[in-house]
């Protein structure tokens, strides 16, 4: 199955990974020796006896142990501050999914309307241009104040950050549908709803899906930050919690999981995109 180029690339990837692990091992090795740097000694004095437990930046072995422990039992639940990685990721995915879904419901019809109507486009454009560059986390205080629920606020932040790329891409895709196809629909006296679903939607689908893919990417970036703020559950909270525990191997493990899930989400939308892309 593997082409020659593919095999070479895989070997090179493996080599890069091994060099990375090797460098990491070497860089963290000497920390296990008895000699402590001046800064470390000072830090230890400051932190009291507790600091003695942490041996600086964790070597690959410790992180590997964290991987094994967490992945062997991903769904345990031992109280609010001690849940399995599966449960934490499920919480994050649930928030992202719900916020993203709500954004789809708003952005696609609204984007359709904006794309079809030059008047609406001009009228709404200033609002979109101002609202789009606002960091979604800047909405957090307003969301917390008006929604009065940290979980709902998290979902709102995902909603607001997913909205813009989808809205803009939908509007752009709908506005850019080939004139010829619209003219065909016109000469066939196609009813507006049928035209929307059978001509404009399939014609604009690749652009819309690109917007959704960008939105999902941003949503996954934002959820970690949002959960660090609102706390309680989720992968972002897990990272923050393990940092407070000074359990760096767990933090590294969580960071790797965030990357992995983000990649899977992106590939999911990538294959959806392939599904609706047409060749002319």
């Amino acid at each position: 199955m593997f082409s020659k180029l593919g095999l070479k690339a895989a070997l090179l990837s493996l080599l890069i990974f091994l060099i990375f692990i090797g460098t990491w091992s070497l860089a963290t090795y000497h920390k296990e020796g008895p000699a402590v740097s001046a800064a470390d000694a000072e830090y230890a004095a400051m932190m009291g006896k507790g600091a003695g437990k942490t041996g600086g930046f964790p070597p690959p072995g410790e992180v590997g142990t964290a991987f094994v422990t967490y992945l062997s039992d991903p769904f345990f639940d031992k109280g609010p501050n001690d849940k399995g990685i599966g449960i934490q990721l499920a919480h994050s995915l649930w928030r992202v999914g719900l916020g993203f879904f709500l954004a789809v419901i708003v952005a696609i019809p609204l984007g359709f309307a904006i794309g079809m109507s030059p008047l609406l486009f001009r009228a709404l454009n200033p609002f979109i241009q101002i609202l789009k560059p606002i960091s979604p986390l800047a909405w957090m205080p307003l969301a917390l104040y008006s929604l009065k629920d940290s979980d709902v606020s998290g979902i709102f932040v995902i909603f607001i950050c997913s909205l813009w790329p989808m809205l803009i891409n939908t509007a752009f895709g709908v506005a850019a549908v080939r004139r010829d196809w619209i003219n065909v629909a016109r000469t066939l006296e196609v009813k507006p709803l049928r035209k929307a679903f059978q001509v404009i939607l399939p014609a604009a689908a690749p652009t819309i899906l690109t917007g959704m893919r960008i939105s999902m990417g941003i949503a996954w970036l934002v959820i970690v930050a949002a959960e660090m703020l609102v706390g309680g559950t989720g992968i972002g909270y897990f990272v923050w919690n393990e940092w407070n525990n000074l359990a760096l191997p767990n933090v590294i493990f969580a960071v790797a999981m965030i990357g992995l899930v983000g990649m899977v989400l992106d590939q999911l939308f990538g294959s959806l995109q392939k599904l609706v892309t047409y060749r002319e």
Binding site: W181, V184, T187, L188, R279
Partner: protein
């Protein structure tokens, strides 16, 4: 005035200039009629507004003034009564060949079952020689095959009239010839009324009953209407053996090369009666001048009195 199947009266189109000033009209005072079952080609240089006239007939564009009446009703907006074949085939790439034609048929007969639609469309696709490719996507087809699908789509809605906007313009000569033959066969079999834009003089002679010659724009006019007097059962292979062929061809080429440019200031333009553009039959009268341009209007006046 006799009632034509389609009559175009006093058509004019002015496009607004970029700086807000008025442009001169692309064409003005265009009058012509098409009878039921007639095949009419329109020839003229780029910029004389051929495509605009076709779009007005299709209802896709509005004329600045003038009316188009088809079958006793004014043309206002697009309608299933007029099938259009676009220059760029305009197939929807996400649908199969059959899907494209079925989309049109479903618009015409929404109450038909899927099986009936598919059967109906397959008949038309077989007519253009694409029976084997109905489940392919347009991207898998050659340019000529795509244009055939466009033709099948326009025929499948069984319109009262067919409008073709330079349908073979983008095809190579060989493919073009084959599809011309097919179109000729279908039109002869169905008695379809057709209005077609072309740049190809031979194509016009092969297909048309009448050729409308447009002078150059702006202020483009119908300089004359050439009747193709060769027998209707002509074929591409035999056509050039007919002595009429070269007379007609020379007349058309002469117009395009020499007369269309200088038309605006010529005697013909001064004597021009936009409502009754001169009708010429170069195929029948090789050595005499074509039936005098002035006879028709004068005759008309006598009759009217």
């Amino acid at each position: 005035m006799t009632q034509h199947f389609l009559s175009v009266e006093g058509l004019q189109k002015v496009y607004p200039a970029a700086d807000g000033k008025q442009n001169p009209p692309v064409f003005d005072n265009i009058h012509f009629g098409i009878e039921r079952g007639e095949f009419v080609c329109i020839i003229g240089h780029s910029g004389c507004g051929k495509t605009t006239i076709l779009n007005v007939l299709a209802g896709l564009e509005e004329a600045s003034s003038g009316v188009v009446i088809m079958d006793g009703r004014e043309v206002k907006g697009p309608s299933l009564d007029r099938g259009v074949v676009f220059q760029s085939h305009a197939l929807m790439p996400w649908m199969t060949v059959l899907g494209n034609v079925a989309f049109a048929a479903k618009s015409r007969w929404p109450e038909w079952s899927k099986a009936r639609i598919d059967e109906h469309c397959t008949t038309y696709l077989e007519m253009v020689g694409l029976g084997h490719a109905i489940h392919k996507k347009p991207a898998e087809l050659s340019g000529g095959m795509k244009q055939r699908v466009g033709i099948a789509r326009a025929f499948a809605i069984e319109p009262k009239m067919l409008l073709l906007d330079e349908p073979f313009g983008a095809l190579d000569a060989l493919t073009r010839g084959t599809i011309q033959d097919e179109l000729l066969k279908i039109v002869q079999a169905t008695g379809q009324t057709v209005f077609m834009i072309t740049h190809d003089v031979d194509e016009a002679i092969l297909l048309a009953d009448k050729v409308i010659l447009m002078s150059n724009g702006p202020h483009a006019k119908i300089a004359e209407i050439v009747e193709i007097t060769m027998p209707r059962n002509r074929t591409r292979a035999e056509m050039h053996h007919d002595p009429q062929f070269y007379r007609i061809r020379n007349h058309l080429v002469d117009f395009l090369v020499n007369r269309s440019k200088g038309y605006a200031g010529s005697d013909a333009a001064v004597l021009h009666d936009a409502r009754h553009p001169p009708v010429v039959r170069p195929g029948l009268a090789p050595d005499e001048p074509p039936p005098s341009d002035s006879t028709r209007p004068i005759l008309k006046q006598v009759v009217n009195q």
